[in-house]
């Protein structure tokens, strides 16, 4: 089988885009809590964010002409992979402190691994992106490792 991940592509491991900083608002927490069907008052009232709220907080906001035809905001800081169709992957999280309204949080992303596997219907590329979220004092809030699959 020909290698899909070339040495040049592999050399992109360690790549990191500019950090992103966002303000946590009670309204955004409440919208997220309602949308996910939370039942705990502290989430519905926006006193604290549910554990996956950071996905919404740091979702890319791009101009409409930067969306792909299927409506996806492409991770344009990532290298171009030879496979294009994204499949859902895996998320691993480690929590250090809760997210509260009024906080200003910064996310730092790093492309930390890539590898290929033979799937049942063809080759697959796996790549992993770590995200470190910290508060305004620099203290760790959470660490995420996302594994994404391309077919």
């Amino acid at each position: 089988m020909p290698e899909l991940i070339t040495e040049e592509l592999r050399s992109q491991i360690g790549l990191s885009p500019e950090p992103r900083t966002e303000l946590v608002t009670r309204r955004d927490i409440r919208k997220y809590a309602v949308a996910t069907g939370q039942r705990l008052r502290k989430y519905l009232d926006g006193d604290e964010a549910p554990p996956l709220f950071h996905l919404a907080l740091f979702w890319d906001v791009v101009e409409q002409d930067k969306l792909s035809p299927d409506g996806v905001a492409l991770d344009n800081w990532l290298p171009e992979f030879p496979l294009k169709r994204a499949m859902a992957g895996k998320l691993q999280l480690e929590y250090h402190q809760p997210i509260l309204p009024g906080q200003t949080l910064t996310a730092r992303r790093t492309l930390c691994d890539m590898y290929e596997k033979q799937g049942s219907s063809g080759p697959l590329i796996f790549y992993e992106v770590s995200t470190d979220v910290s508060d305004a004092t620099g203290a760790a809030v959470l660490t995420e490792r996302a594994t994404r699959i391309l077919r």
């Binding site: 919208k31 949308a35 554990p51 996956l52 969306l67 299927d70 409506g71 998320l91 929590y95």
Partner: protein
């Protein structure tokens, strides 16, 4: 609410049933600011991508797993680690069940591991996951 002295391996977490619908998908993807058409554009999802219907957002099912843990734990502790994998898709209209059970207890560190899953009405496991919680002293 669970307390570390009262729990045992095999204890079941609260189960939640979700009747997925288009309004729920709209609100979730709007909260994310996600315009991926497979979640709201039926002709596109079925005609262009050959899905049997609108695809339920993967991380929404991850969130539903976390709710089992947090409602079981209540104010007795905190979530240390949480993970899930989207193995199979769910489609709008599917009825999903989010559930879990205690799989490990460590009295020294006051931590417990719970194993989680989302299953559909056919019994297919869509989203396996796990969490580690720490109970307050």
């Amino acid at each position: 609410m669970a307390r570390i002295d009262d729990i045992a391996i095999g204890d079941r977490l609260p189960e939640f049933r979700y009747e997925t619908d288009t309004v729920g998908q709209f609100l979730y993807n709007a909260a994310l600011w996600n315009a991926h058409r497979i979640h709201f554009d039926y002709p596109y999802a079925t005609g262009e991508e050959n899905y049997p219907g609108l695809v339920v957002a993967g991380p929404l099912m991850g969130d539903w797993l976390s709710q089992c843990v947090l409602e079981w734990l209540g104010d007795e502790g905190r979530l240390l680690r949480f993970e899930y994998a989207n193995r199979r898709a769910a489609f709008v209209g599917d009825v999903l069940l989010s559930r879990g059970e205690v799989s490990e207890i460590n009295l020294t560190s006051r931590t417990a591991t719970v194993t989680l899953e989302i299953v559909n009405e056919s019994g297919d496991q869509l989203t396996p996951g796990s969490a580690v919680v720490q109970f307050s002293a």
